[in-house]
């Protein structure tokens, strides 16, 4: 199916719940409301013309005013992709978990929680995966600052008086 057909199929099925598409993305990107994410996901997987059976990646993007939870889906049968995006609040990001639909989301959601602090509601075991369990803060957020020390291990970079953000390539 082409991107237009997938979009049409989804819009026919869910109408208002599809909030829109993201034109800056080179893949078909569909923004959905967080309440309908589970329903849409299940439809994406089970509908025979879509059959997105392979969850490729769950990731997050911090846009400083909001945090996006991004789900990349693949279909092994039809060989097409879909990107689902859910906007989350920046202060206390929450998003429904799709683990019950694709088990693959388990670790990806844990990682996104670890890095962005998005609470995936309904996730069976939402704990940090890459960082230590008692790590503070969410490293991939744009406003994240390295802690001065961790269990007595000093952050030498900051102690030497050099702030890590001095050189900013996007300035």
């Amino acid at each position: 199916m082409t991107s237009e057909e997938i979009l049409k199929r989804l819009q026919d099925q869910f109408g208002e719940a599809i909030l829109g598409t993201d034109d800056s993305s080179l893949n078909l990107t569909v923004k959905v409301a967080s309440e309908t994410l589970l329903e849409i996901s299940r439809f994406c997987r089970d509908d025979s013309s879509l059959s997105f059976d392979l969850l490729s990646l769950v990731s997050g993007v911090d846009w400083t005013d909001r945090i996006e939870s991004v789900i990349h889906l693949d279909s092994t049968a039809h060989k097409h992709h879909l990107v689902l995006k859910v906007d989350c609040d920046h202060e206390s990001p929450r998003c429904p978990s799709v683990v019950e639909i694709w088990n693959a989301a388990d670790w990806h959601e844990r990682e996104t929680y670890d890095m962005f602090g998005i609470i995936y509601e309904g996730h069976p075991n939402l704990v940090r995966i890459l960082c230590a369990e008692d790590w503070e803060g969410y490293p991939l957020r744009k406003d994240y600052l390295m802690p001065d020390e961790y269990h007595g291990i000093p952050n030498d970079f900051q102690q030497a008086g050099k702030r890590p953000q001095k050189y900013n390539p996007r300035g």
């Binding site: 088990n103 960082c131 050189y167």
Partner: protein, 394 residues
């Protein structure tokens, strides 16, 4: 026999209860750390297993020992400065990490790649696949105790590494494939060497087959162990040899060709359950051995028709202009689908670069397929999934 009379519920220390029949005495369960410092966890994987005797009842994977904040670091560098960081992820297939990233950036930045560069990428990429599979096959031999097979594989891998060294000066972290092309040309002499290597290597695959793949004890150890059904593999997002081992012919080089792969003739190898059941460790292992032959086939074809021309626009070596937007692109890494999700805000470097690491997804299925097997099988199963911890932890 078999009638459950007087079944009592006994609480377990980890919660829940279990039914105990009369005459069925229960031994103590043990929590055991396999890894991070273990010879067969291929780096610093830690698996906490709950065992009853030698039988594994449950396992839990802990990762993060090698976490180097790739995704945070690359937010502070320019587009071309990212490639050396990608090298360090899957350090056994660094070329592919470069390739995946370069393709994603090229797609977003509308960068034209010279045709010669595309051919070089395919030759070097497939050579990298051979090197990576040799590593995987060899260390798998090591896991089951066949040390000689490991050294045979390393002998041949050494030749590929020398070729890489000649091509880009590095043996492990190449930083060779850049957005827009490759960082250096392949001379005719190098192409000849690669051709010679393929001629030399094809009979060596038979040697590996003789020594390891068809060895009775090896089949005894791996066939019918760690069976991964296809639906479970898809459910856990497994890709690459792990998914193909379960019988699905999904290979991005065929399904969604990138580079110039649609011009090449090769087969997608799938598991057939010849020695045990479909999706067992032997199937997953054998796919790698057979894929090496297919890679040789592709390299031969590419060597035959590589055109003359530029290998990169020199100004692209400094930096690439990328417009605002985002792209997600996957390549078929030796371990599975390596995906790069790149978000650009139109500045000099990526706003966000997220990686779908194939080993990260593949290893998540370990607790499912290792349940009920023995400690010795655990090692065999971990080896058959073929993880690289640098990529799992990034």
């Amino acid at each position: 026999m078999g009638e459950a009379t007087n079944v009592t519920e006994v609480p377990l220390p980890q919660g829940g209860t279990v039914a105990v029949k009369p005459g069925d005495f229960r031994t103590e369960e043990m929590l055991l750390n396999i890894g991070p410092q273990h010879p067969s966890t291929h780096g610093v994987l830690r698996v906490v297993v709950r065992t009853d005797g030698e039988i594994i009842l449950d396992s839990q994977v802990h990762i993060g020992y090698l976490h180097r904040c790739f995704e945070k670091v690359v937010e502070n560098v320019t587009w071309t400065q990212v490639t050396p960081y990608t090298d360090r992820m899957d350090y056994l297939a660094s070329m592919y990490n470069n390739l995946g990233y370069s393709l994603a950036v090229e797609k977003l930045g509308d960068v034209e790649v010279p045709e010669r560069a595309s051919y070089i990428r395919i030759i070097i990429g497939e050579l990298q696949r051979i090197a990576s599979h040799l590593m995987s096959v060899g260390t798998y031999g090591l896991d089951v105790g066949a040390i000689t097979a490991f050294l045979y594989c390393f002998r041949d891998r050494e030749i590929t590494l020398r070729i890489f060294e000649e091509v880009c000066g590095q043996r492990l972290n190449y930083n060779y494939i850049r957005p827009g092309g490759v960082s250096g040309d392949l001379t005719d002499e190098m192409l000849k060497k690669i051709d010679d290597f393929i001629d030399y290597f094809l009979p060596k695959i038979d040697e590996i087959d003789n020594l390891l793949s068809m060895n009775g004890i090896f089949i005894y150890r791996t066939a019918g162990v760690g069976i991964l059904p296809l639906d479970l593999a898809l459910d856990y997002g497994c890709t690459g040899p792990v998914l193909r081992g379960s019988g699905l012919a999904r290979d991005l080089r065929k399904d969604e060709p990138y580079g110039l792969y649609e011009q090449f003739d090769f087969d997608v190898i799938t598991g057939k359950g010849e020695k045990g059941q479909l999706g067992d460790c032997w199937d997953r292992y054998m796919i790698r051995v057979r894929e090496m032959r297919e890679s040789c086939k592709i390299i031969k074809q590419a060597l035959a028709k590589i055109p003359e021309g530029k290998f990169i626009e020199p100004k692209l070596l400094k930096n690439v202009k990328v417009k605002k937007g985002e792209s997600y692109l996957k390549v078929e890494n030796p371990r599975g689908e390596l995906g790069y999700y790149i978000v650009s805000d139109g500045k000099k470097g990526p706003y966000r670069c997220s990686v779908r690491a194939p080993s990260f997804c593949n290893i998540a299925v370990l607790p499912e397929i290792s349940r009920g097997c023995m400690v010795a099988d655990m090692v065999v199963i971990i080896g058959s999934i073929d993880i690289v911890m640098g990529e799992v932890d990034r």
